[in-house]
Amino acid sequence: MSPVPAPSDLPVELRTEALESILVEKGLVDPAVLDKFIKTYAEDVGPLNGAKVVAKAWTDPEYKARLLEDGTAAIAELGFKGPQGECIVVLENTPTRHHLVVCTLCSCYPWPVLGLPPGWYKDPAYRARAVREPRALLEEFGLSLGPEVEIKVFDSSSEVRYMVLPERPAGSEGLSEEELVPLVTREAMTGVAKARPPA
């Protein structure tokens, strides 16, 4: 008889496969639904959605006002909604105020506009240091902010997901909404970077 590994030794791949096979057998999970969720978040929902929101806010003052007033509704105007987007608050960066977004407890993130969080956002070091020493953390991301800039850190709660509206970069005045989209990175929308200057 071959030795049966102790549960704690079982690789996480096998435990995941085991759980899936039991749930499918019991009829609790439809494999097609499972595959659809994975495909959606691996291939379609990503920070391009948020970039479109930011570019529209930069070019349409009335939209920007709505976005800052009720982020969830203004984002839904562009068709972006879904899990982890039930209550999105948009934080506007200015020359004297910079916002940084974190979820210290569990990496909550506004999926409809940014997709699933990247590795650094989930990292224990980021989650701890964003609150404790945001200025030093931002330096490591390559973002040096002068002493005149106040840094406000927003820690996600059970309900609210935050997204940063970065400052429109200098030199982008003549660009159209469509041309502005590529300047908006995921990092700019979490506050660890500024929007890119135009090429």
Binding site: V4, P5, A18, E20, L28, D44, V45, C106, D123
Partner: protein
């Protein structure tokens, strides 16, 4: 001081078109999809899952070692399903052990008498 694993990306694009890896391994995507499908099916409130995830993340950080977010995710899901009586932990371990034996059977090599 911990150095951040920086993987700062370029301009925003759909995950598919900029080659970004949302999941580091296939099992991570399955664990993610299972939680989404079960929540979609009304098996739990997201906040209940989130509370288990917070607890799992805290345990992993207290234990030290390499941090795996989706390992915490899977643990949170298993704990939630176990406590709500949907799937108990022992049956998952039992099935995983069966799968482990299957893998060993499929993996055996034929080079043991070639030296």
């Amino acid at each position: 001081m911990t150095v951040l694993p920086l993987d700062v990306e370029g301009p925003a694009a759909p995950p598919r078109s900029n080659g970004e890896l949302v999941f580091a391994a296939p099992w991570e995507s399955r664990a993610f999809g299972l939680a989404m499908a079960l929540h979609d099916g009304g098996f739990f409130e997201w906040e209940a899952f989130r509370q288990q995830l917070i607890a799992a993340v805290a345990r992993a950080e207290a234990a030290g070692g390499e941090f795996s977010y989706y390992r915490c995710w899977l643990e949170a899901l298993q704990t939630l399903l176990d406590s709500s009586g949907v799937v108990d932990l022992a049956s998952v371990d039992g099935r995983a052990a069966e799968l482990a034996c299957r893998s060993a059977g499929h993996d055996h090599r034929h080079d043991h008498d070639h030296h």
